[in-house]
Amino acid sequence: MSTHGRDDARRAGQLPAMPERRRLLIGAGLVAGTLALSGSWVRTALAQSAAAADVAQNANFLALSRLLTGWPALDARMGERLYAALSGEDHRFASQVAALADFAKKGGHANVEALTAALDAQQDELAKTLRRIVAAWYTGVVGEGPNARVVIAYADALMFQPVKDVLMPPTYCQAAPNYWVAKPPMA
């Protein structure tokens, strides 16, 4: 199983080792140079995508996804597949991604929770798009109904990240037999 997210990011030296992944986006290494200019976590994250403009759509989606999920080291290939699947089920998706990025850039929200709240208040459609993107990354599945759903990822779905110190994706083995006897972390 490949992993992505904070451990990979740490190994790559991109980010300081911090226990709370929400802080990673505003970690010193990442934002030191741009914080003064933008004053916003949003512009910082989206700025990363500008440098990769040659694969603009996917890069923009990935940058937006980093913003919306809070995970800094999302898998680019998974992002491409999610983008294709989400676009495939809704022809307005590309423009919604652009609108969402635009809204986020202008808003100056402190974090994705604040962005979500703002969208809920002002832009119902974009709020739905935001949640579709988040749900796709977290579940690894796109689509509705028993026949329409496409599995993009299993073990790499983000849902396993918040519990990965305690639980494994089913079918994978965590440790030696009887590891389950020990009292797990209580938080």
């Binding site: 949640r131 579940t139 849902m159 079918t171 440790a175 006897v181 938080a187």
Partner: protein, 538 residues
């Protein structure tokens, strides 16, 4: 050509029952031919199918039904089983028509029935007697435990089924989740025990120790859990011949009422005939009935083995209810195997005159996915989303149950007018759950509420609609009187001297535990009977 195939023993079906019979007899030097309607699947493929399926709760999905040998699929519904009656949905059963059978996906609970389960009529005045006793089966229960590789509490825990030998393996140590339940429930008037399971607690029979992949259903990735495929492989190594994709649709009977041949169709619809001295019908409780009913002749108008008119009747399962809540402490289900403990204080007693016995079991399945779906449905994003996933994964409690049901002739399977791709009739089932079971479920609901309270529950959700548990029993029911039963105490058809039935369909009471170990014990007993009959007994 296969049309010329002949064997001492023809076994129809390659699940745990058929495979055990085939392995025993082939090992004793008999020629054995196994006919399996479905295809052979490799374990790695099943694991990958599971990882790539959207609905992870659908245990049938990793085993795609063959067109020529369909089995029930529910998401979407392939309408293979035609379900009728007031509780039709409660018999929406899962089983697999593949080499190895339905024990590819089970929780591996390997319980023995209780002595009183065999004598419900004479002890409690309800239901039926089997015509054999627990003592008749006890040595075979032990042999089944050795064959399957059962680990259980060798610490003196009384599970109500007297044993002469210890479990072949000691039980696995309880997960933190199960241990907390053990401590809290046993201190508060419940009896919660570590349950016997066909799961390795140490290397056994060339298979590894369970390492907690938490995927017993729908597939153990490492083979630490027993599955019928293991005895299929052993039977083949011992010389049994297995034909896959061989859909038996008729047994041929001679003037002396002996079975002389089995006819099967290949996936192209071509017909083939194999002959044998003895026939063992091991095609599960519903498919076996199908074959008997499809084999009707002028003399056997209602189908073979059916002079009693009981073939297809007395259908039973373990109607289940459940509860889910959030505990006030983190328990972290999902570490270790999917199920380790059961609540057994109402498996037996005088109350069985009035209402059904039952077993409750704590789910130790990883809750991450359900927690995530719930958290997403709450609209959360960001840190709030992660916190909610973590909280629900740690605090979710899910308990389910099996209730006994009485054998009722009107709960039955017939051949439908609707046909499958080979032109064979689909099973049509009529099912109603009676007051005997419903009364018990009310008591179970109260027990759930009490347990919830002990764990300071929030968001308690009772699921009181009876769920199927896929323990298909009663359809070729055992009894000592040929007028009201299909097989005798040795699982031999009253009507046909060389026809045996190795299926949970023979079971004359449902009890409160799953039927696999009892099927295995009965199958080993059939094998002994046939060894003697063939002069192969050592």
């Amino acid at each position: 050509m296969s049309d010329n195939l002949s064997a001492d023993v023809v076994v129809i079906g390659s699940g745990v029952a058929g495979a055990l019979v085939a392995h025993q007899l082939a090992s004793a030097g008999a020629s054995v031919l196994m006919l399996e309607a479905g295809p052979r699947l490799e374990r790695w493929r099943i694991v990958e199918n599971f990882r790539n399926q959207a609905d992870k709760d659908d245990f049938q999905r990793p085993y795609p039904a063959a067109k020529h040998a369909p089995h029930p699929e529910y998401a979407p519904d392939n309408d293979y089983l035609i379900l009728k009656g007031p509780d039709a949905k409660s018999y929406a059963s899962q089983y697999l028509r593949v080499v190895g059978g339905t024990t590819w996906h089970w929780a591996a609970s390997a319980w023995r029935f209780l002595p009183n389960d065999f004598t419900m009529k004479s002890t409690y005045g309800v239901g039926r007697d089997w015509g054999i006793s627990y003592d008749d089966l006890e040595p075979y229960y032990y042999r089944a435990e050795v064959e399957l590789g059962v680990s259980g509490p060798n610490d003196g825990t009384d599970l109500g089924s007297p044993r002469h030998q210890p479990y072949p393996m000691d039980h696995l140590l309880l997960s933190y989740n199960d241990q907390r339940f053990y401590d809290v429930l046993n201190a508060n008037g419940f009896k919660l025990v570590s349950e016997p399971v066909a799961r390795n607690s140490r290397p056994y029979d060339q298979r590894p120790t369970c390492c907690g992949n938490n995927n017993c259903m729908p597939i153990c990735p490492i083979g630490a859990m027993y599955s019928g495929i293991l005895h299929v492989d052993k039977a083949e190594r011992a010389g049994a011949k297995l034909l896959t994709n061989a859909v038996v649709y008729r047994l041929e009977v001679d003037a002396q009422d002996r079975i002389v041949a089995a006819h099967y169709k290949d996936p192209d619809g071509n017909s083939h005939r194999v002959t044998g001295k003895y026939f063992v019908l091991a095609a599960n409780a519903l498919e076996s009935v199908k074959i008997l009913l499809m084999s009707a002749t002028d003399k056997w108008k209602n189908g073979l083995a059916n002079s009693s008119d009981q073939v297809g009747r007395n259908l039973m399962d373990h109607p289940g209810t459940g509860v889910t809540f959030l505990a006030d402490e983190p328990l972290w289900p999902g570490r270790g195997p999917m199920e380790m403990t059961s609540i057994v204080d109402h498996r037996d007693g005088e109350f069985r005159r009035e209402w059904a016995s039952k077993k409750l079991h704590l789910n130790n399945q990883v809750q991450t996915r359900h927690a995530t779906l719930k958290a997403l449905s709450m609209g959360l994003t960001g840190k709030a989303l992660d916190d909610e996933i973590r909280y629900r994964s740690a605090h979710t409690v899910n308990i389910n149950s099996f209730h006994d049901i009485l054998p009722e002739p009107n709960n039955r399977m017939r051949l439908s007018d609707q046909k499958d791709a080979l032109g064979l009739p689909r099973p049509e089932i009529t099912y109603a759950i009676g007051e005997y079971t419903k009364k018990s479920a009310v008591h179970t609901h109260e027990a759930y509420a009490k347990i919830g309270k002990l764990f300071g529950c929030r968001e308690i959700e009772f699921n009181d609609t009876f769920a199927p548990n896929n323990h298909l029993m009663g359809s070729v029911i055992m009894g000592s009187d040929p007028r009201d039963s299909v097989v005798d105490g040795h699982c031999r058809a009253h009507d046909h001297a060389n026809l045996y039935m190795a299926t949970s369909g023979v079971m004359a009471s449902a009890g409160s535990v799953n039927c696999t170990l009892t099927i295995a014990a009965l199958s080993l007993r059939i094998a002994d009977t046939l060894k003697h009959a063939l002069g192969k007994a050592s």
